[in-house]
């Protein structure tokens, strides 16, 4: 399902950098069959709604793809980290290491008609929404092959059904309500997933968006990625109520174990069903954790203990968790998983080379897209009169 989605996505893609991601198939004979998995009963906690089903029926192939996507994502962020340390990436860069299950579990519950919008911690979502690894890394490097033509950098990545990558904390949330309104108005049977952090959840516009979404029963899923910190401030120091799934008041909500990709998948499927069946908006709180610092300049260890990070890594890691499941269920062998890991590494390494080889954008990109080309704007003024750019 995922790969066919990628292909259809590639078809709609107006931009050439969206390439279908190939997922290797595995030799295990049982690969095509579905498995039944019962999630831990602590996976969800609800507010004014039923609990999503703990019974997951999913194809083995899809499980393997989930694993593959998470491994790619982690590798990709490791590569970004290395490129940053090599001073090839500059400026602001926020990695999603540790939070992979959110983007992956969400995507597998959605169709390309559904829309996603998030904040600046966006590399993983961009990948899941069909972007190639090269286009993401090249964007980080500010190169022409970047998904925003090298003009945005880390916080500014988009695909046709992914509205970014937004740098101003909280600003994307009302946009999500507007996107959902348009979906409803246009008669699309689809939802918008608007993501924000535990820190962002305190911006006034988040509550303004809740109200509009409920007032007009918009197919909007508000997703709080609670990774426990907004920069150096822990959730309990920033938020009077840290039960983010209850903060919609008149909007029901579900708290989800965001470190379990299947719980995320299940909750997102539930939310999609909820919002497309006319019940109005829903809140999801993904309990997750970022392993690294807030951004590259934050070591991430001054406001939390190393033990806490280590504890999350060893006991809650989404990749390790899924891996154990796959082995227990006999979906794949240890060797096959090793092969996925190895191939993911090779795939990312190749993308690193490709993105490094891409040139910087041509200077004309500097003036383009300030206004619509045909808008009749004859010129943009430069630093001095002679530099004024005439279109």
């Amino acid at each position: 399902m995922l790969s066919s989605k990628r292909i259809s996505l590639a078809k709609v893609a107006a931009r050439a950098f969206i390439t279908p991601v190939t997922v290797r198939t595995f030799a295990s004979s049982s690969i095509a069959r579905n498995v039944n998995i019962t999630l831990h009963k602590a996976s969800f906690e609800t507010y004014n709604c039923d609990t999503p089903s703990l019974e997951v029926n999913i194809s083995k192939e899809e499980l393997v793809k989930m694993y593959h996507s998470m491994v790619i994502m982690r590798r990709m962020e490791m590569a970004s980290d290395a490129l940053y340390k090599a001073k090839l990436i500059r400026g602001f860069c926020h990695l999603c290491t540790g939070q992979e299950a959110v983007a992956v579990g969400m995507e597998t519950a959605l169709t390309p008609d559904d829309k996603i919008i998030t904040a600046y911690r966006c590399h993983g979502f961009t990948y899941m929404r069909g972007a190639s690894i090269t286009s993401i890394l090249a964007e980080l490097l500010g190169r022409k092959a970047g998904i925003s033509a090298g003009k945005g950098g880390s916080m500014h990545m988009f695909t046709p059904n992914f509205f970014g990558g937004n740098g101003i904390v909280g600003a994307q949330v009302p946009l999500g309500a507007g996107i959902a309104f348009a979906q409803k108005y246009l008669g699309h049977n689809a939802s918008t997933f608007a993501l924000y952090g535990d820190g962002a959840s305190n911006q006034g516009q988040v509550f303004e968006a809740y109200n509009m979404a409920k007032l007009w029963d918009l197919p909007c899923v508000f997703v709080c990625e609670n990774n426990r910190y907004g920069m150096g401030t822990s959730a309990s120091r920033s938020s009077a109520n840290t039960s983010y799934f209850k903060r919609g008041d008149y909007i029901p909500g579900v708290k989800v174990n965001g470190m379990d990709v299947l719980a995320v998948h299940q909750a997102c499927a539930y939310a999609k069903e909820w919002t497309t069946s006319g019940k109005g908006p829903l809140l999801l709180e993904m309990e997750t954790y970022r392993y690294g610092g807030h951004s590259m300049s934050d070591p991430g260890t001054t406001y939390r203990t190393r033990e806490e990070i280590q504890h999350m890594r060893s006991n809650n890691d989404p990749i390790t968790g899924l891996k154990q499941r796959l082995l227990e269920l006999n979906v794949v062998s240890e060797d096959e998983l090793k092969a996925i890991d190895k191939n993911a590494r090779a795939e990312v390494d190749k993308a690193v080379e490709e993105s490094k080889a891409s040139p910087e954008p041509e200077l004309k990109a500097f003036w383009e897209q300030v206004y619509k080309k045909e808008a009749g704007i004859p010129f943009l003024r430069g630093r001095e009169p002679e530099e004024t750019h005439h279109f």
Partner: protein, 401 residues
Amino acid sequence: MSIATLRTSYLAASLASVSRSMLKQQVPIKSQYAATNSPPPPEGFMPGVANSKFIRNTHHEALRNPELAGVANGETKKMNTFQAINDAMSIALATDDTACVFGEDVAFGGVFRCTMGLAEMFGRDRVFNTPLSEQGIAGFGIGMAAMGSTAIAEIQFADYIFPAFDQLVNEAAKYRYRSGGEFDVGGLCIRTPCGAVGHGGHYHSQSPEAYFAHTPGLKVVIPRSPIQAKGLLLASVRDRNPVIFMEPKILYRAAVEMVPVGDYELPLGKAEILTQGKDLTVVGWGAQLYVLENAIQLAQKKMPGLSVELIDLRSILPWDVETVCNSVNKTGRLLIAHEAPKTQGFAAEIATTVMERCFLRLEAPIQRLCSYDTPFPLIFEKFHVPDMIRCAEGIERAMKF
């Protein structure tokens, strides 16, 4: 002399910055940047501030300033701009029991370390973290100040001040006027880092002073150095009007000065003449002054004997019309440079006022060197900002008109 030959000669004279004539010759874009694997310098595309002759790095030099007469017999201490700002806040807290410092992560020192140690020194009830909530931070500060308290709020980057725009423009700026003097928010000072850093991209680089300069009731101040930052910040905190204090973030660690350790204020609404001159007036503020300093030197290499009056405006609102116009009446020529885009940048206001007041004295069109009318770009930063070469060319254009 044609612009092209003029430029070529500057290029020959200059070791730094980007060559636009190369650009004109269609040299492949790559060669205009530093090579792909050499990143922009951490201090951005600005020649070293530490070597500026406006940096007062000895005790004696620092205290020669008549504006510092009140602390002339006191001690000085080596400080960077972020330390001087910290010192100013420390004095503000120590001398005013109603004063509080708040903002995102400020109790931990803040992103640029400007509030380091203040929470430990003055207590967490006076120096505290706020939720991520710019509109709330501004509104909260306004309420506090309306009670007569002193509210020193930090907006983490000037690019994030826009969610607070309504509060500042509609509530803070008009409180005194609309209440017929019953209430005011004189105790409010909003500190916020602004300006280019070499790699900030769209949302960590902007200079929004002109938006606020369009608002009667507000004051807007931008310092250029540690000594200036301390004195201007103390004055801004204590001024009985709401003040937006924009700190050029590229200067936080750019240079140390010998900063008086005592309590002193520098005047708001008053420009400072950095060098006296008779041929041309050059006006700038914040980090742009160091670009201008180099541009003037470059131009003087081409035009020996050129005498330039360089003015640090310091206050954007209200701005020192007298000092600027007196200078232009003397020189007959004016160049203004700033990092914000040209259209409706603050240079437009200065140019118009000077045109009104000095029309018959002007001997050349007023030169405005500003950034391009584009969003602040990520990798094109050095093409965007008015660099030394552009400013030097502007000087020569004004002189040769």
